[in-house]
Structure formats: C-alpha cells, structure tokens
C-alpha cells in the first residue's frame, strides 16, 4: 500500500466516523441510529486495519479485526434486538410500545443539537491543533475528527431520553475515544482495548436485560419517567 493510498483511506475512514456520528445526531428513528453505529464501528476498525496493512504489523491487524467483529457486528446486533422492527412488516399483535422505535422528545431539538454539534466540532478542531503540531503525521491529523466524535457522543448522552439512545450515545462516545487512541498512538495494547470492549459488552448486556425488564414493568423506557419513580 502506498503512503498516498494509506493517507486517503485513513481520512475516508475518519470521514465516515464523523458522518455516522452526525447521522446519529440528525435522525430520530432508533433503527437508523443502530445501523449508523455499525457503520461507525466498521470505520473505527478500519483505522487499525489500515495501519496494520500499511506497516505490516500483524498484531495491529488482529486488533482491527477483533474491533470490527465486536463494534460493527456484535454490539449493534445486540442493540438491534432492542428496537422493534418497523410497523407493517410484522404482525401488529406482536407490537409493544410504539414509542420505542423513535427517540421521542429529546431534551434539545434536532436543529439546535445540530448547531451545538457544529460548535463542538469547531471546538474539537481548535483544541486538537496543538496535538497535531506535536507530531504532524497523517494519523495525528485525523485525531481532531475523532475528538469531535467524542464530543458528539457526550452531547448525545446528555440530550437523549430513551435507554436505547443512551446506549447508542455511550457507544458513540467509546468509539470516539478508541479512535483517538488508535490515531494518536498508532495502536493500543490489545489487552487494554479488549478490556474496554468487554466492559462495553457487559454494559450492553446489563442494559439490555434492564430495558427488557423495564419494558415489561413500565411499558416504556423514558428516563424522565424513571426520575419520577425515584421520587
């Protein structure tokens, strides 16, 4: 792989990372968010895979493939099971709460969150410049993009109400952090990365169980309503 091809593919991967994060902020249907999350996981995995292929580092390549399986297939797959399929394709009698397919009533309107996102990205780029200046290489140049994804994950975490959206937000945040790590250090020790991913898997499993329980018990997963339970 030539250095030029490596650079452009790396940038494309970070572009997809950013695009999918914007898409998650933009859209309300949860299925779409989960699919975008899968795309994001694939883009994230592409970063170490590309690095491994470029530098013939088999270890990095392996990490990348592991990340790909986990982030692009397993986690979104688990999440997808939490979201009921669209109306009309299934037996209406099987439908549970209709509100579960969409993020309803986020704390910040779509247009407003998009504007905040724009500000967050600009901030990430501005803050990331000193980092890039330390060691200007193709991969560090892309680090501010990953930083922007982290900020967008935080934004999502703060503004969304549905439990599934919260998981999506958390995964976006984690994808961003992993991307920053891959881009800045050109490869995280496998143990650390796998450990983090296992944590995540655990988190998703726990939440899935919880969500299922909540749905059975309260008929919905609006976090605002849970607040009332607490009181």
């Amino acid at each position: 792989m030539s250095s030029h091809t490596y650079t452009s593919l790396l940038y494309l991967a970070s572009g997809v990372l950013l695009l999918s994060a914007v898409g998650i902020v933009w859209g309300r249907p949860l299925r779409v968010a989960v699919r975008l999350l899968a795309a994001q996981g694939a883009a994230l995995a592409a970063i170490p895979v590309l690095g491994g292929a470029y530098r013939h580092d088999w270890y990095l390549l392996g990490v990348g493939l592991a990340v790909c399986v986990l982030r692009a297939a397993v986690l979104p797959g688990l999440l997808a099971r939490l979201v009921p399929p669209p109306v009309g394709l299934t037996d209406p009698r099987e439908q549970t709460g209709a509100g579960e397919r969409h993020e309803t009533g986020p704390l910040l309107g779509t247009s407003a969150s998009l504007m905040v996102t724009a500000g967050a990205v600009v901030l990430a780029y501005a803050v990331g410049q000193p980092l890039v200046a330390l060691d200007p290489s193709p991969s560090t140049r892309a680090a501010p993009v990953a930083l922007a994804v982290v900020l967008m994950g935080v934004l999502l975490l703060v503004t969304r109400r549905r439990a599934v959206s919260q998981i999506v937000a958390f995964l976006t945040l984690d994808n961003g952090i992993a991307a920053v790590a891959f881009l800045l250090t050109s490869g995280v020790p496998l143990v650390v990365e796998l450990g983090a991913s296992l944590d995540l898997l655990l988190f998703v499993l726990v939440t899935q169980v919880l969500t299922a329980r909540m749905r059975v018990k309260f008929g919905g997963t609006d976090l605002g309503e849970l607040q009332e339970l607490h009181e």
Partner: protein
Amino acid sequence: MSTAACFAGVLGGVSLSGAAAVAAVPTRVSAAASGLATAAVGVTGLVGGALAVAGDLRPAWVGWLVPLSGASFAADATSGLFLLVIGAVSVVAGLYTVGYAAHGHLGRAPLAVLPVFAGAMLVVPLAAAVTTLLLFWEIMALTSLLLVLAEWRREQVRAAALSYAAMTQLGFVAILLGLVVFAAAAPGHAETFPALRDAAVHLGPGPRAAVFLLTLAGFGSKAGLVPLHVWLPKAHPEAPGPVSALMSAAMVNLGIYGIVRVDFVLLGPGPRWWGLVLLAVGALTAVYSVLQAAVATDLKRLLAYSTSENMGLICVALGTAAVLAAAGRPAVAAVATTAALVHLVGHAAFKTLGFLAAGGVAAVTGQRDLDALGGLARPMPVTTVAFGIAALGAAGLPLGCGFVGEWLLVQALTHAVAAGGTLLALVVPLAVGVVALTTGLGVAAMVKAFGVGFLARPRSEGAQRAGEVPATMIAAMALGAISCGVLAVAPAVLVPVLSRVLPELPTGTAHGPGPALGTLVRLPGVGGSVSPALLAVAVGAGVLLALAAARWGSRRRPAARTAALWTCGGGGLTSRMEYTATSFADPLRRVFDAVLRPDVEHVVIAYAQSPYLLEKVSYRSWVHDTVEVVLYRPVLRAVAAAARGARRAHTGSIHAYLAYGAAGLLVALVVVL
C-alpha cells in the same frame, strides 16, 4: 487644478442658494426649485468626485470658517468615490422631488432643507480635520432630522425622530471621544488627518483599541450596524420618499466612509482582531436585519432593514479584507476590499430605485403596508418595473446589480479558508454560511415585497385607486434603473475609479494587481471567473430557445383564451382569500421563532351552545425588533427611573435649590481639601 476648499465652497454656495431660492419663490414652484437645487448639488458632487478621483483637488485650509482651528479640506480618490455615489443619488432624488413634492407631500421648510442636507453629505468626505469632519457630520445629522420630521403631525414620525435624534447624538459623542483620544496622541495635538496618520504609530495598543471601538460604534450606528441599528428601520421609512432614498442609499455610506477613513486609512492597518470584530459585527447585522426584512410587512421598513443588511455585508467584506491583510495575503485582501466597494455602489443604485418606487406607491395609494397593497402592476407599470429591477438587485441574483459584489465577497471568503491558519479555517466557512443565508433570506424578502406588493390583486381601497406617478418621478426612476442595469452587466464602468481607490487603502492593491472587472470578472492569483454580461446574454439566448421550443405544435393548437381563475369550483375569489405578506413570511417566522420572538394573539370565540360552533376567530401577530426589546428597553427603563428619582428633588422651592447649591459647594470644598 482647484482646491478642495474651493469645491466645498461651491457646494455650500449651491446648497444654500438653493435653500434660499426655495424660501423665496412662490409655493407653486418651490417643489421644482428644491428638487432642481438638490439635483444641482448632486451634479456639483459628481463633478467634484470626478476631479477628486483624477487627483485634481488640492488640500486647503480655510481659517475663518471654524473658530480657533479653522477648517481643512482634502480629497483623494476614496473621497471621490463617495462623492460620486452621493452625488448620483442626490441627482436622482432631486429630480424625483420635483414631481413628488408637487403632489403636496412636502412643506416649504423640508424643501428648503433638502439641498442643504445633500450639500452637507457631500462635504463630509472632503473634510480633512477632526473639527471639520465633526462640524459637517453634525450639520448632516441635523438636516436629516429635520427632513425626517417633515410629516411631524403623525405620532410615529415624532417617535422615530426622537429615536433617531438620540442615537445620532450618541453616535456623535462616540466619534468625538474616539477622535479626541486619537488627536491627543498627535504631536502638538494637531487634528488634521495627515497629522493623525503620523500619530497612529505612536499610539499605544490600549488607546488604539479604544479609538477603533469608539469610532466603529459611532460610524457603525450611522451605517445601521447591529446592535446600534434600532433608529434606522424607524426613521428611514417615516421620512418622505426622496429623503428615504437619500438617507438609505447615500447617508449610510458615510458610516462606511468613516470606518474606512479613520480605522483603515488613518489608524490602520490594524491587528487581526479588528478584522474579526468587523466580520462578526457585519455577519450579525446581515443575518439579523435580513431576517427582520423577511418578516416585515411595511414596504419601506423592509427596505430599511435591507439597507442595514447590505451595510452588514459590506462590513463582512471589510473585515475579511482586514483579516487577510493582517495574515499577509494582500491579493485576496484586495478582492475583499473590491467586493466591499462594488457592493457599496451597487447597493446605492438599487436602494435609491427601491425607495423611489416605494415612495411613489406610498404617495399614490396612501399605504405602506404590504398586507394592504397588491395589484399595482396594471395601474403603475413603470413603478412596478422599477421596483422589480431594484428587488432583483437587492436579492443578489445574477442579472441584478447586487450580484457582482456578493460574488466577489464569496470568492474572497473561499480563498480565505486556506489563507490564514486555524482560526480563519474555522471562522470563514461560518461566514460563508452567513452570507449565503443572508442572500437566501434576501431573496425571500424581495420576492415577498414584489410579489405581494405589486402583483396579484389589490387588497385595499387605496391600492384599487392607484395610478401611475408623474413624468418627473418616472424620469428619476428611469435614471436609477439605467444605472442599476449598467452596474449589473458591466461592472467594468467602476474600474477607472476603483483602480485609483484601491492603492490608497491599506487592504487594497498597493502590493499587486486587483481583480479584473472586464467583461470577464477575474481574480488575481486565484482561479474563478464570472461574466455578468455574457451570463445575461446566455440567459437571453436560453429564454429565446425556450420560446422557440414552446412554439412546437402551435399551428394545431386551439386558439388561446382567457378564463376565470380556477377556484376549485367554489365561485369567485376575493382579495381576502389571497396570501398576504404576513402569511407569506409565516414559514420563515416559525423557523426563526427563537430569534424573532413574535407576539401572537389568537382569539377563538365559540357560541355558548357548543364549543364547535365558532362565532369569531381572530389572529394577530407582531414582530418586534428583538435587539430593541432585549437591549434597549431595560436601559431606557433604568434611565426613566433615574429621571423620576431626579424629579423628586425638583420641589420648585427656591430655598431648596439654594440649599442644593450650598451643599454642592461644601462637597467641592471637602473634596479639594
């Protein structure tokens, strides 16, 4: 070769003798006298502008005119450009006044003041010392205030004039303070412009920033920059037609002139943050004003907000130029400077025409409310075409005279992305977005003004009775329309002037060639070209081709006919069923609800028998100037409260006042000791 003082004297002579003539002649011809005098002042300004651009006006000092300091005059090409613009507007507005005032719309006093106002505006760019500038600035402000008060019997006029008077005096104080700080740094406290220019080097960064901010506030308030714009959308619409044109197309330019003269030429080139401040203020002004224009329902208020918007765009261009000059990119800075100047000239042309057409509509129909206009295309075809040309220019679309300026601005911004480091790369795309949103909303505002105001069918008695305006007014509008057309397709006419102005400005072309404004508008050092003339030809050819295509099969076509409007089978349409300006702007009002914060009153009265049977539904909405509500009202309330407190001290007793005096004396003594 004559001196600038000589020329200023001629201007003064023409204006004052014009005023005297208006006062002396019988009422019947006073309108003609005033209009012709104003036009004569304008012609003098044009001549002077041409001389100034050619460099034929020597600086001079007149000792007797102002006590102590004397008055100093000078003219360079920059002054010349402004003289030309203001002179041209005065000629057209003067000609228009002849017919407008003959209808009995103006009293003798305003008619007498009109040439003096035009004269004062023309002397301001000639001033070459602080005192001279301030003197004529104040004369200009006072005469324009008198003209705004022409229809003083109406309550809104008096309120607008009060707001104008307060803002213009505050602006004056800001300019005064700024220039005083500036002059204090000059050796021997000299106050002529050459002395100030030398003094700028010795000014510390603190005072320098203070001078910049104070003069920006002072001149910016004249140009209608947010948040000091609040007087503009009130005063400009309430003035009579030709005065609105003079104020909105000529006087606001002097605000820009002040910024260019003091902050760029005398004080500059400044640090990068000056440019960023200008950019931010300009962007805020442009978007905020165009948004207000898009939801305005008063035709002249809409045009006034559009003035503010265009001044904002010019300010964005100047800011871009300053930032780029500070970043060491003179070629692109020159493009931005050219954009500012071209847009300034274009704006003067289309805004004159727009206000003249709107003035004619207001005079004939007695209505300025778009919700009550409509159907003017048939009774007033010439006015309609004139307003259409002006609106095309104001919308910034190709074939209109606002296009080249905005195109240059976008080009300058495009090439600024990669020019100046991280900050610019983040700020400039946002600025492009702002300019684009401004253009888009400007199109919406102008489609509304033209489509609702002039097309469709009349919505009120006044609009129904409309008839075409007199010949002199038509002639004036024709002049305006011709200049719009020339500027739209051949911006090359500005080359002789701009090629002399640009080297004089620190952001101009002292270091290289400026943009080529020939048939093909090309930019130096960067790719990108456009040709307004050839584009117009291409659109013409396309239209002809489309016409030819539509003739296919016309021989076998049944004869064309007219028919009643399709009303879904429901019978005749009335004008109450039409879309109004309010309903037209409703989607935009809702989208920008958070910024505009409209007051909505929605009353539904049902019959007692059933909530489903409605007796009456009424809906009203008002859009206030948010800046005024948020920023000014609290200040005004505080001032009023302080005044009430002070009033309590005024008991009317002579002893009390003597006691205040004694107490004051005691306090002073204690402080001194």
